[in-house]
Amino acid sequence: MGEVLVITSGKGGVGKTTTTANLGTGLSLLGKKVVMIDTDIGLRNLDVVMGLENRIVYDIVDVVEGKCRLKQALIKDKRFEGLYLLPAAQTRDKNAVSPEQMINLCNELKEEFDYILIDCPAGIEQGFKNAIAGADRALVVTTPEVSAVRDADRIIGLLEANDVRNPMLIINRIRVDMVKKGDMMNIDDIIDILAIDLIGVVPDDENIIISTNKGEPVVTDNKSMAGQAYRNITQRITGQQVPIMDLEFDKGFLGRLKRLFGIKA
């Protein structure tokens, strides 16, 4: 029996889709059978982030309306064993799917997959309600900005109200240089405010943009810090204990000098 995880945030543009793509890919690399569902009907993007935009025939609305079988709409990612995508419809609106239909869809997919990752749309309206309807667990993505943290707080409240228990936090796009200067909230500040458990921290990394340009998730890039952060989160999802990575790794001369003298800057 699989597990349904919804990736949500409230605010748009904090990295829900990128997170879904990387965690889905990362879990498949761990040998899990994974399906990612894009529930952002009308504004689908998980397909382009994954580089699968040319392979769409049917979408989630076709499935719930019975125009095709579920199997026909699932796009198999040929690069990663066991990874599938169920794309959103681009020409319909959020009301084309109901929470009951989402629950049925999730239950059907649970039979066959280890993990079902749901990419939630921004906002707290119908699309959000659909996305969380069938979820067992929620991952809340935020960035260290007041607007994103405020919206994350609202989402945590709504998840609780809808019986999605124990949401876990992903802090995305943290910049160590700014945190050090006191110009960006640090991990402790955000956890203290939101009062939920942390499942991972992803540093701001230009490799994300480069890999998204190419349609290849950064989690496959062994040299990227963000890729490592996503690999760590996938391991934590499967229940392994992995320490939060040290983002303070300073490659420069000064960094090496500091390490030489044992100074933890």
């Binding site: 007041v146 405020r150 609780e160 200067k181 909230m185 405010i193 939101l194 009062a195």
Partner: protein
């Protein structure tokens, strides 16, 4: 970097962000008007004043969130910080 923090103490922009967020979330979470909190505060002061002398201007009431006892859920919590000046003798 501690030296840096020393010079920057108290006015770094992240501290401003933190404090502003905390304030705005009090109201977001309460889902009630500031008047409601003021009314609640007034009532609490009235009741407690029957038993002890408190510093009303320092009284701080916030709606926030905390982990439930079993650690499974996040629950709303009313946190009140009420500085006491003196106990009254009515209870004896």
């Amino acid at each position: 970097m501690d030296l840096f923090k020393f010079f920057n103490r108290g006015n770094s922009s992240k501290d401003v962000a933190r404090e502003r967020l905390k304030l705005v979330l009090v109201h977001d979470r309460a889902n009630v008007s500031p008047q409601f909190l003021e009314m609640l505060k007034g009532e609490i002061i009235k009741v407690i004043s029957n038993y002890m002398e408190i510093q009303t201007d320092e009284l701080d009431i916030q709606l926030t969130r905390t982990k439930s006892d079993d650690g499974e859920r996040v629950v709303p919590a009313l946190v009140a910080n009420i500085p006491i000046r003196n106990m009254k003798n009515v209870g004896k």
